[in-house]
Every structure is written in structure tokens, then in C-alpha cells.
């Protein structure tokens, strides 16, 4: 099975992802890091990315987190994007929070 090469610009990380796999599952399965991993169902929005190069097929994702305009510009949830070519992406949103969390009150 040929795999498309996914490049995360923020970290320089690369990994393989088949057309039938979404960008997040493939990364997590290989133990790689970079895109925040949440619900894997298009609902929670933490895996929001910008695909700056490459083509993909998208499944339904929550409009609370990605507008249709954004989706048309390649801003998607990684768990709902299936690559049909090599893909280069940037991580959006909560990346920073996932790496250096600051909590003053236990939960927030």
C-alpha cells in the first residue's frame, strides 16, 4: 500500500499516511507527535491544522471549529482529512497549550 508523506512544518516531523487513513490516526499510530490528539471524531476541534500543500478528502467536521470558508482554504481537523497526495501542514490553535500548559487553578 503506497503511503503519502505528511510533513508537519512546525516540527519538521514526517510520517506516512495511506489514502484510507486520516492524518491524525496515522500520526498517533506511529507514536509521532505534533498535532494535538483529541476525540478523533471531528467534534472537539483540538487537531485543527492548515494544509498548505497537497490534496485531501474531508469527512464531516464540527462547524463550531471549522467554517466552510476555512475548509475551502485547507483549514481542517486532522482527524477528518484523508490525504490523496503528499501533504504539508501547519498546526493551528492549541499546539502551544499542549506543549507548555500553565494552570493556576488545577483545572484551568
Amino acid at each position: 500500500m503506497t503511503k503519502n508523506v505528511v510533513t508537519i512544518l512546525d516540527t519538521g516531523e514526517t510520517y506516512g499516511c495511506a489514502r484510507e487513513e486520516n492524518l491524525l490516526d496515522a500520526m498517533v499510530r506511529l507514536g509521532r507527535k505534533g498535532i494535538p490528539s483529541g476525540c478523533h471524531g471531528g467534534g472537539c476541534g483540538v487537531c485543527k491544522i492548515h494544509i498548505v500543500d497537497g490534496t485531501w478528502r474531508g469527512k464531516t467536521m464540527s462547524r463550531e471549529h471549522v467554517s466552510s470558508d476555512e475548509e475551502a482554504r485547507g483549514i481542517v481537523l486532522a482527524c477528518r482529512a484523508y490525504p490523496s497526495s503528499d501533504v504539508t501542514l501547519k498546526v493551528l490553535g492549541k499546539m502551544k497549550k499542549a506543549v507548555c500548559r500553565e494552570r493556576k487553578y488545577g483545572l484551568v
Binding site: 471531528g42 467534534g43 472537539c44 467536521m61 463550531e64 497549550k97 487553578y105
Partner: protein
């Protein structure tokens, strides 16, 4: 008199077919109705009312509303008065506005969540019946969830701006709906900020919980299993069916339940919760967890935060 238990939860799902495959074939609920708007109603085998889960197809995930069942019809009038006197607006819902239910009242919790109270819902019966029943039915699928057990709602908590919807909800549920505080987490420099609470009306440690976060939402809804061995088998079934598991089988310090957290296909977190914890009673002194032991309370074995447990929700 008063609130008896959680009655149902209305979840938004992104893909109805995928959601039904999850709630029917993984969780073991059965479909009992579909209304003209396409909402699908499901019940667990050990429940007797017509449904405990309503699935609504939408373009976002999360919870639309949560409903509790009260014992007597007159309770609805008493609660309407108490809620209104507290300063919260109440809307009457005529019989049938909530499918297969009698009249109901709806209002918004201080946190912004839509809550309803009702006294009657169409009776269908447990899968094993009531005359010389077997302990469990043969035909139930997947993890064979017994009943919808509780829900955890995320509430805005921003102490620096003076916002604490956990504390506001807890006060409302206690003073107006007669819920009892089972356990709480207190945080902050003086250990006086109520960051999470677990409240009950039944005899189990919680029927609803509130946890502080950046914004309101649904953290999870939980389905009851008997015991630890059922939890382990449920995890096997989820792995077989490629369900995204968030937290593998664990014990909670808070409530003492044994648990698995996982996501439905739209990213709504579910839990299978086993064990009755302890006998919760109105005169039981509430249990307090301090900030430094918060994660031991949530995940007793590891005592560590698991993944994005408090920042990932719908």
C-alpha cells in the same frame, strides 16, 4: 417527591448512521423511535422508560439538553415556582413536546446548559420483563450498557474574572432542585475555589457533575455496567470495534467508580462506569479533594492527568 434520576440526554451527532452503529452495536442500546425531524430515540436494556438517549444530526457535536425525571406531576409546579423565585426563567412544555413525555418545564442552568424536568414518559419495560426475570437478556449487543447513569457538564471557570459557573450550578442544584453534594474539588491559593462538584439524588455518588473549564460544554455522559470484569470486557469490545478510547480501564478516587472513557464517532465523550461506589445519602458529609490530589481523585491508579482530559470536550 422531587427529582428521581437522570431521564435522558439529547446529543448532537455529525453522522447519524455512524452514531447509531456506535450506540446500538457498541453500547448495546436499542432504537425505540424516530420522530418527524429525524431525531432517533434509544434505550438501554435495564431501563423501563421509552428512551434515555436522543440523537440529533447536526453540524456540531455536543449536548442540546439534559432532562431529569421527577416523581410526581405536582413536583413540576413546585419546581417551577422555586426556580422562578430563584430568578431563573422557566418555560412550560406541553405534553408531547418532548416525545412520549407528559408536560415538562425547561430552564437554563447558570452555566448555560438547557435542563428539563418531566414526570411522565411512555413505559416500554426492561428487556427481561418483571415476572420471574432472567438477570440479563441474551439479545443485547456490545457492552450491554444497563442504563444512562450520569453526565458531566463543563462549566466556565475563570477565577481571575470572578467567573465560577461550577459553584453557581452547584448552589442552584442544591438550593432549588434539592440535589446533594457528594464530592468536590477545591483549588486556588486559599483552597476555596470550587472547581468541580459531584451531586446526587439517587443513592449513588453522582447523577450529575460539574467541572470547570474555559467554556461550557459536554464532558461526557456515562452508561452503567455491573463490575470491573464488565469494564475490561467492554474495553475489548471497543478495541475490536476501533472505538477511540481516551482513558483505558481505571479506578476513580472520586466516586470510587471503575471506568473507561472513549468517544462516539462525532467526538462526544462517553464513559462506561461500573460499581455503585458507596451508599450516598442526604446526610452524608461531602468529600473534598485538594488541588494537589486532584488527579489522584480523577485517576486513582496513576494520579496523573491523562491526555487532554479536561481540555478536549464537545
Amino acid at each position: 417527591m422531587g427529582v428521581m434520576r437522570i431521564g435522558h440526554i439529547n446529543l448532537r451527532v455529525l453522522d447519524m448512521d455512524a452514531a447509531l452503529d456506535h450506540y446500538e452495536n457498541t453500547m448495546g442500546l436499542s432504537r425505540t423511535d424516530t420522530d418527524a425531524d429525524g431525531n432517533v430515540y434509544l434505550k438501554c436494556w435495564d431501563e423501563w422508560d421509552k428512551y434515555s438517549v436522543i440523537l440529533t444530526e447536526a453540524d456540531t457535536a455536543g449536548m442540546n439538553s439534559i432532562a431529569f425525571k421527577v416523581e410526581k406531576d405536582a413536583d413540576l409546579d413546585a419546581f417551577k415556582k422555586r426556580i422562578t423565585d430563584y430568578g431563573v426563567a422557566v418555560t412550560d412544555m406541553p405534553p408531547g413536546e418532548m416525545n412520549a413525555c407528559g408536560r415538562a418545564i425547561r430552564f437554563t442552568l447558570p452555566s448555560g446548559h438547557d435542563m428539563r424536568l418531566y414526570a411522565e414518559k411512555e413505559f416500554l419495560g426492561k428487556a427481561v420483563g418483571t415476572l420471574n426475570p432472567e438477570p440479563w437478556p441474551d439479545e443485547t449487543k456490545g457492552v450491554k450498557a444497563h442504563w444512562l447513569d450520569h453526565a458531566l457538564l463543563m462549566c466556565e471557570l475563570n477565577p481571575e474574572k470572578g467567573v465560577n459557573k461550577v459553584a453557581e450550578n452547584t448552589k442552584f442544584m442544591s438550593e432549588v432542585l434539592d440535589f446533594h453534594l457528594g464530592e468536590q474539588v477545591l483549588v486556588g491559593p486559599d483552597g476555596d475555589i470550587q472547581a468541580a462538584t459531584w451531586m446526587f439524588r439517587t443513592s449513588t455518588p453522582h447523577d450529575i457533575a460539574f467541572v470547570g473549564g474555559p467554556k461550557m460544554g459536554l464532558h461526557h455522559c456515562a452508561f452503567f455496567l455491573d463490575e470491573w470484569s464488565d469494564v475490561l470486557k467492554a474495553a475489548d469490545i471497543m478495541a475490536k470495534r476501533k472505538v477511540k478510547i481516551d482513558v483505558t480501564p481505571q479506578r476513580h478516587g472520586i466516586t470510587r467508580g471503575s471506568t473507561i472513557y472513549f468517544f462516539d464517532p462525532s467526538g462526544n465523550r462517553n464513559e462506561t462506569f461500573a460499581g455503585l461506589g458507596y451508599l450516598a445519602q442526604p446526610d452524608m458529609p461531602p468529600i473534598t479533594w485538594t488541588e494537589e490530589n486532584l488527579w489522584r481523585g480523577i485517576f486513582y491508579h496513576t494520579g496523573e492527568e491523562a491526555g487532554e482530559f479536561t481540555s478536549v470536550y464537545t
